[in-house]
């Protein structure tokens, strides 16, 4: 019996080590491979040529939607080539009123390219809203911005240049959480985005097996229409459509340029954070089960998709294994070789932490911030609790998935990534 336990311990340690090493590699991919220059935005921007439709799905976003709309219609792109659609469910009267009020303000300024789309059918979720808005979209390129997004004013000119000169149908530009110092988990959450968009997505794009992000993603409208838009039954419609596009052989151009990222905020409370993470995990589980990824032509593509989508299961298992491992520390006196093997995942955990610490410096440098000296110390203390929260969210997703709960748990946005002054300016302008 004892040897069975040791065997299991060694097997789990080895599997965890492989998994952690692979994740680490994906985190540092862009710094390891010389892809930096290839994925940057072009320095020379051409004249606006393509027309855009920017869809902003919103639900209970009264606090931030006006600022977002204001910023979008005032971006540096001709209004004749830009259509902005805010899409809401009919029951969300607060957001509808705020958007209508803002659209009136804009019209008084002579800006007529913003409109509101309201839907009254089910399901009430983001992909359904996107599909409703897609029917009204007129631009050659369709993009999505979330209600709290702070898009860069030049991003459409950048994408116009990339899509026109490179002939690609899909571009995923960078999205970045900014408020790394808001609370104990926000630093890690910010860094997850940083590593995901700046590094890992490049690996996925290279192998043409890419779960797209939820916003700042640009599609040819014709392509979107051809694939039937977004999957309304999926909680991560962004990842699903990305893998669906990959299976159709569509190449995705990933562009992460620190200058042009769309800025977002971390969920304002731990509960909101867990809900968001649960939704992502559940969405990945759904996409895995749906199996579109199986249609990808190469084994490597299928492996990468399956590996990514199955990750929440691995994280859930890790969450369940953690208390067992802690118990074993106290009750099991393992032979030295077994203990040494089980130390390898710990080493990799340390490597992950160090990478996060260095990543923080990279992130703050890129965005002209100066991290406080205590940030890394706080990170050191909060690293394990954060991992446990992620594991809990994965277990929660698994439980919801098994019990058939598939409703959309919305993430609240308060605009923590925006400066107070900026919000006030927008409100006074409104």
């Amino acid at each position: 019996m004892e040897s069975l336990v040791y065997g299991a311990l060694v097997t789990i340690s080895v599997l965890l080590s492989i998994q952690a090493a692979h994740i680490l590699y994906l985190m540092i991919y862009t710094w390891d491979q010389d892809v930096g220059e290839l994925t940057k935005a072009p320095e020379e921007l051409i004249e606006p040529r393509l027309s855009f439709t920017a869809i902003v799905p919103a639900r209970h976003e009264e606090e931030v939607i006006a600022t977002t709309l204001e910023r979008m219609v005032h971006c540096n792109y001709p209004t004749t080539l830009l259509q902005v659609i805010v899409v809401c469910s009919v029951d969300d009267t607060g957001t509808i009123d705020r958007v209508a009020e803002k659209i009136d303000d804009l019209r008084r300024e002579g800006l007529y390219n913003a409109e509101l789309v309201v839907f009254d059918d089910l399901p009430i979720n983001k992909p359904h809203g996107l599909n409703c808005a897609l029917q009204r979209a007129q631009g050659e390129v369709v993009t999505i911005f979330d209600a709290e997004d702070e898009m860069h004013p030049e991003i459409l000119r950048v994408i116009n240049t990339v899509m026109s000169t490179e002939g690609v149908n899909i571009v995923q530009a960078g999205v970045q959480l900014m408020n790394y110092g808001s609370n104990w988990y926000s630093t890690f959450n910010v860094l997850e985005y940083f590593f995901w968009f700046k590094s890992r997505l490049h690996h996925h794009a290279k192998h043409n097996s890419i779960p797209l992000g939820g916003n700042t993603c640009f599609f040819s409208r014709e392509l979107l229409a051809r694939v039937g838009g977004w999957d309304e039954t999926n909680l991560t419609e962004d990842a699903e459509i990305g893998l669906r596009m990959s299976s159709l052989g569509e190449h995705v151009r990933v562009m992460y340029d620190d200058r042009y990222v769309t800025k977002e905020e971390t969920p304002p409370s731990l509960g909101q954070f867990i809900k968001q993470r649960t939704r992502w995990n559940q969405g990945f589980m759904q996409t895995l089960r749906k199996g579109t990824w199986r249609q990808m032509p190469t084994f490597h593509q299928r492996f990468l998709a399956c590996y990514t989508l199955a990750f929440p299961y691995a994280q859930a298992l890790l969450g369940l294994y953690t208390p067992v491992a802690l118990l074993l520390i106290f009750v099991l006196h393992t032979p030295v070789p077994v203990a040494l093997v089980s130390f390898i995942p710990v080493l990799l955990l340390i490597a992950h932490f160090l990478t996060a610490a260095v990543g923080l410096r990279e992130f703050t440098d890129a965005h002209g911030m100066v991290p406080s000296r205590t940030t890394v110390v706080k990170m050191a203390f909060m690293w394990i609790p954060y991992q446990l929260v992620l594991a809990y969210a994965a277990v929660r997703a698994l439980r919801r998935q098994l019990s058939g709960q598939g409703n959309w748990e919305k993430t609240k946005h308060v605009g923590a990534h925006r400066t107070t002054l900026e919000n006030e300016e927008v409100r006074s302008g409104a």
């Binding site: 540092i28 710094w31 390891d32 491979q33 010389d34 930096g36 030295v336 203990a339 040494l340 130390f343 080493l347 340390i350 490597a351 160090l354 990478t355 260095v358 410096r361 990279e362």
Partner: protein, 524 residues
């Protein structure tokens, strides 16, 4: 920005590299089973590798952290994959000597790559490898089963990876890890830390991923070391019992990694400096004065050259720092053994190669080839050089390295023991024959080295009980008597010396030149 050293090797470069690899294989593999004599330290490392494979332990005796086990773990892995394992090449030491030859050939390739990248010169790299391959000092020690030879391999691999200058994180990780393995193969790699750390820093400087490069280099280097420390902690052998670091009174309860490190550090004194001079005169200069003298001069000039062109000669500084770092270790007055010179050999060769490259930089290609060929030919044909030696009658002959058959004498001694000594006898031996007596039938399970019979409580107090009457035979290797006397500071060898001097009857001996082997039967 880090220098760009990644220039193509070219046809002449490939030829020079091929010649270096082949000549390195020949000088080291030819006659490796016959010369030099199997020595005590070879026997210790091989018996510990044997213990890994046969017993799943780091040593057949109490492992007291005298050295980190990286070296003999690799030896064990090598023996384990061979058909016949330790006896694959005749005997255990021969089998591991083959690993040393392989390690040397790989080291040659790495040294060539490093020197060429540091200097931009094929002829400089070729000359460095020629010295590394042919120096009698190098061949003599590099054939032996020594942890230092494996440490050099990992060290050179670490530098080579950094010198690739490809700005990849996996390269930085690989380099750091290789250096970490060097540290747990032989701890004296520690003295290369300043040079390696500086090189890793400079290679990352100005690069977009510099922070990650440095992080991963250091982290990867720390992995093998931390595993070693964890190993000690898991066995409750990290700290000495009672936190007692008194070197004159070792804690009796259990061995300790930190205590052993402290003990090693404390083993320094003026005797060490005298020892350095003695070894320099007696063991090193007599084998190859050229590489030592020219190497020392080269280090000074290489550092001078660096100071004149710091921008483009980073490798010169690194090579100089390596020599200075390890040189400090050798002259600082610590306990020194003759083979501790091993890591210095490639470093001096590298410095000479770099100096040669700088001197010949503006020379025409043909002149470089002609002069390099002339140096090689002269080194090989001049009597007292690298290949031709004068015999006792003044006749010219190949160097001892390539014709003397000395290990056969040791084989004869073991054959005599097998034929005449009962396997259950209690034997005092030297470590060089330990594996032969424990791995080949008939086994001699009660054959133990005089070092263990003097210091390991399990052997000294339980088997021999510090009493000459419990010894049946003493199998004397060459210079074992002197080693016993040197190790007798606390009288721990007295009962064995008594057995030989007062009660021993010489039943077999063999004397050839300076080699004296004997077997004593202890009469009771």
């Amino acid at each position: 920005m880090a220098p760009n050293w990644s220039t193509p090797l070219g046809r002449s470069g490939r030829q020079a590299l091929a010649f270096s690899l082949v000549s390195g294989a020949i000088t080291h593999a030819y006659h490796v089973f016959q010369y030099p004599l199997y020595v005590t330290d070879e026997g210790i490392y091989v018996q510990q590798a044997w213990s890994v494979v046969r017993e799943g332990m780091l040593s057949p005796y109490t492992y007291f952290y005298d050295h980190a086990p990286g070296g003999w773990l690799l030896m064990a892995a090598w023996a384990n994959i061979l058909p016949g394992q330790f006896e694959a090449f005749g005997n255990a030491i021969n089998t591991i000597r083959v690993l040393m030859v392989i390690a040397h050939v790989i080291s040659v390739g790495l040294l060539f790559g490093i020197t060429r990248r540091f200097s931009g010169s094929v002829s400089g790299a070729f000359l460095a490898c020629f010295l590394f391959n042919f120096s009698p000092l190098a061949v003599y020690y590099q054939r032996q089963v020594l942890l230092d030879n494996l440490m050099v391999l990992w060290l050179l691999l670490s530098i080579y990876l950094l010198s690739r200058a490809d700005n990849r994180l996996v390269t930085a990780m690989g380099s750091g890890f290789a250096f970490g393995v060097a540290l747990v193969t032989k701890e004296n790699a520690l003295f290369f830390v300043p040079a390696l750390a500086y090189l890793s820093y400079k290679m990352a400087s100005g690069e977009r991923n510099r922070r990650f490069q440095l992080q991963f280099w250091w982290f990867a280097a720390a992995i093998p070391v931390s595993v070693y420390i964890l190993f000690a902690e898991l066995k409750n052998e990290l700290l000495p019992s009672g936190f007692d670091f008194n070197v004159s009174n070792p804690p009796a309860n259990h061995v300790s990694l930190l205590y052993s490190i402290w003990w090693q550090i404390s083993r320094s004194g003026p005797q060490g400096r005298n020892l350095f001079v003695q070894l320099m005169e007696g063991s090193w200069l007599s084998r190859d004065p050229y590489i030592l003298i020219a190497g020392c001069i080269a280090v000074v000039l290489v550092l001078l050259l660096w100071s004149q062109d710091r921008e483009n000669r980073l490798g010169y500084l690194v090579a100089g720092m390596m020599a200075m770092g390890y040189g400090f270790y050798m002259v600082r007055g610590s306990i020194l053994l003759d083979f501790y010179v091993v890591p210095m050999i490639p470093v001096l060769a590298m410095n000479i190669g770099l100096l040669y490259a700088a001197v010949m930089k503006k020379a025409p290609e043909r002149a470089k080839i002609a002069l390099t060929a002339a140096i090689v030919v002269l080194a090989l044909i001049i009597p007292g050089g690298y290949f031709v030696a004068r015999g006792t009658q003044g006749n010219l002959q190949a160097h001892d390295l390539y014709h003397l058959e000395v290990t056969a004498l040791q084989e004869q001694q073991i054959a005599w023991v097998r034929k005449n000594v009962p396997p259950n006898s209690r034997l005092i031996i030297d470590d060089d024959m330990w594996t032969a007596l424990h791995d080949v039938k008939p086994y001699y399970p009660r054959a133990h080295s005089h070092f263990k019979a003097a210091s390991d409580p399990a052997v000294r107090d339980k088997l021999f009980r510090r009493n000459w009457q419990n010894i049946d035979y003493v199998i004397m290797s060459n210079k074992m008597r002197a080693a016993m006397e040197r190790n007798n500071g606390n009288g721990a060898e007295n009962y064995m010396l008594d057995a030989i001097d007062q009660h021993g009857q010489r039943v077999w001996d063999l004397n050839r030149g300076g080699i004296h082997l004997a077997v004593y039967k202890i009469e009771k």
